[in-house]
């Protein structure tokens, strides 16, 4: 089910200026564009890790930020599942404790069944007792996704989740993302600079360059931006 997503805001950081004016209904919004175009900044703005100048961020019926109404939900109450490009798995916890970190802090949303479904979906059962430093790139990626998913997020924010993986691993992780999209019905904002990946996953694409939207439209037939 497509979800209404509003990303309409201004972020100023030093000389960098990022402007978004998106109001779309989608399951997966892909942010596409070269390095430094502001893709990660969009994700971190949604996650509440950047201070915005003004605007609105809404996911479904939840308002995360609305400068007009004085709403700026703190990061820990936004219910976003953010998987940063560097993954940032907690080094002092094993795989299980990493994954459960978000589940524990979300007493109303997480359930044992939900957790079981996520672990099965990402085939993580064999790794639960491992140290995160002993995992391969693809395994780390799946742990980071599971950790974000166990918070029962209202949106999943993925920052180039396949870029660090080799071709074989990409081919194995991409189906997981499709299953998350189709089976868990969690909307995603997905950052990538790989067009094939975007085509495989997203139903809406926003192309950024230098902090501005240069195109915005359905994934298969990109159209001119509004």
């Amino acid at each position: 089910m497509p979800v209404p997503i509003t990303l309409d805001f201004l972020l100023c950081q030093g000389d960098f200026r990022l402007e978004m004016h998106e109001r779309v209904e989608a399951r997966v919004v892909a942010l596409f564009g070269p390095s430094g175009s502001g893709k990660t900044s969009v994700l971190e703005s949604i996650a509440g890790l950047r201070s915005l100048e003004r605007g609105e961020i809404r996911i479904g019926s939840r308002t995360l930020y609305d400068s007009g109404a004085g709403v700026d939900v703190p990061s820990h109450r936004r219910k976003v599942g953010y998987v940063p490009q560097d993954l940032t798995l907690f080094p002092h916890m094993n795989v299980k404790r990493n994954i459960l970190y978000g589940a524990r802090s979300d007493r109303d949303g997480g359930s044992a069944e939900g957790l079981e479904q996520i672990l099965s979906l990402l085939e993580l059962h064999p790794f639960l007792d491992r140290r995160v430093s002993d995992l391969s790139g693809g395994e780390r990626q799946r742990v980071a996704m599971a950790r974000a998913l166990t918070t029962a997020p209202s949106v999943l924010l993925l920052d180039e989740p396949l870029t660090a993986l080799d071709r074989g691993l990409r081919a194995r992780v991409l189906p997981y993302l499709k299953r998350i999209r189709d089976e868990l019905a969690t909307p995603m904002v997905y950052v990538s600079h790989d067009e094939a990946e975007v085509r495989a996953l997203a139903d809406w694409v926003v192309e950024l360059d230098g902090g501005r939207t240069i195109r915005s439209g359905p994934a298969l037939t990109p159209s001119a931006g509004p």
């Binding site: 890790l49 990061s75 599942g81 940063p84 940032t88 978000g102 802090s105 950790r147 974000a148």
Partner: protein
């Protein structure tokens, strides 16, 4: 070792341990604040905390007498509650905690500064409140710095003399190793002084060795 020396060594180690426990909560809080927060008056607070490092310990002791003496702003109310601080074991703990605090804060602060903020941010996005982020991410990741600081603070409390003799005197009930070495030497009991010296050196050596281990692998 005589019974007297054993009793003094035991008293010193237990009171220094207690002083370490007393300095840990404010020490960890101050270390985290200095590593993570900017606020007006921060430089003043940092200087104040470090003051016992550079002031003569007897001067620190005198300040403690002003504050915790029976007519002091804290000692007065405590005395009315029936808690006397000066010239009791509590004064030994107090002197050790105040003198050890700056060392704890410095090492623990370095520990917190080494924690990548990214972990704290991501823990926040996973729904952890700032308090939970501190307890489950910042503190465990800064653990080695905090432990190294606690051992340094403990070592400082263990050898504390100047402030201790001001606030606790050299009474049989408050006498620590450092104070005993001074008293024995003053009264010509050289063998006893030498025994206390050996005990003091062994304990301090062990504590420092552990502290360096924690610091180097932090």
């Amino acid at each position: 070792m005589t019974g007297d020396a054993l009793a003094i060594a035991w008293r010193t180690v237990s009171l220094a341990s207690l002083a370490t426990l007393v300095m840990l909560p404010p020490g960890i809080a101050l270390a985290w604040i200095f590593a993570r927060r900017q606020f007006p008056g921060r430089a003043m607070l940092e200087t104040l905390v470090s003051l016992p490092l550079v002031m003569p310990p007897v001067a620190t002791g005198l300040m403690l007498i002003w504050v915790f003496g029976r007519r002091g702003p804290l000692g007065g109310p405590l005395s009315q509650l029936g808690i006397d601080v000066m010239f009791t074991w509590r004064a030994v703990v107090l002197a050790g905690a105040v003198m050890g605090l700056p060392l704890l804060v410095r090492a623990a602060r370095a520990g917190f500064e080494q924690v990548d903020r990214r972990y704290e941010e991501i823990a926040g996005t996973l729904g952890a409140s700032p308090r939970r982020v501190f307890l489950t991410i910042s503190l465990p990741l800064a653990k080695r710095g905090v432990l190294a600081g606690a051992l340094l603070g403990f070592s400082r409390a263990l050898g504390e003399f100047g402030a201790t003799i001001m606030v606790a005197g050299a009474l049989p009930s408050t006498r620590t190793i450092a104070v005993a070495i001074y008293s024995y030497t003053e009264t010509g009991q050289e063998a006893a002084a030498t025994t206390m010296l050996a005990v003091s050196a062994s304990i301090a050596f062990g504590a420092l060795l552990l502290s360096n281990r924690f610091a180097s692998s932090a």
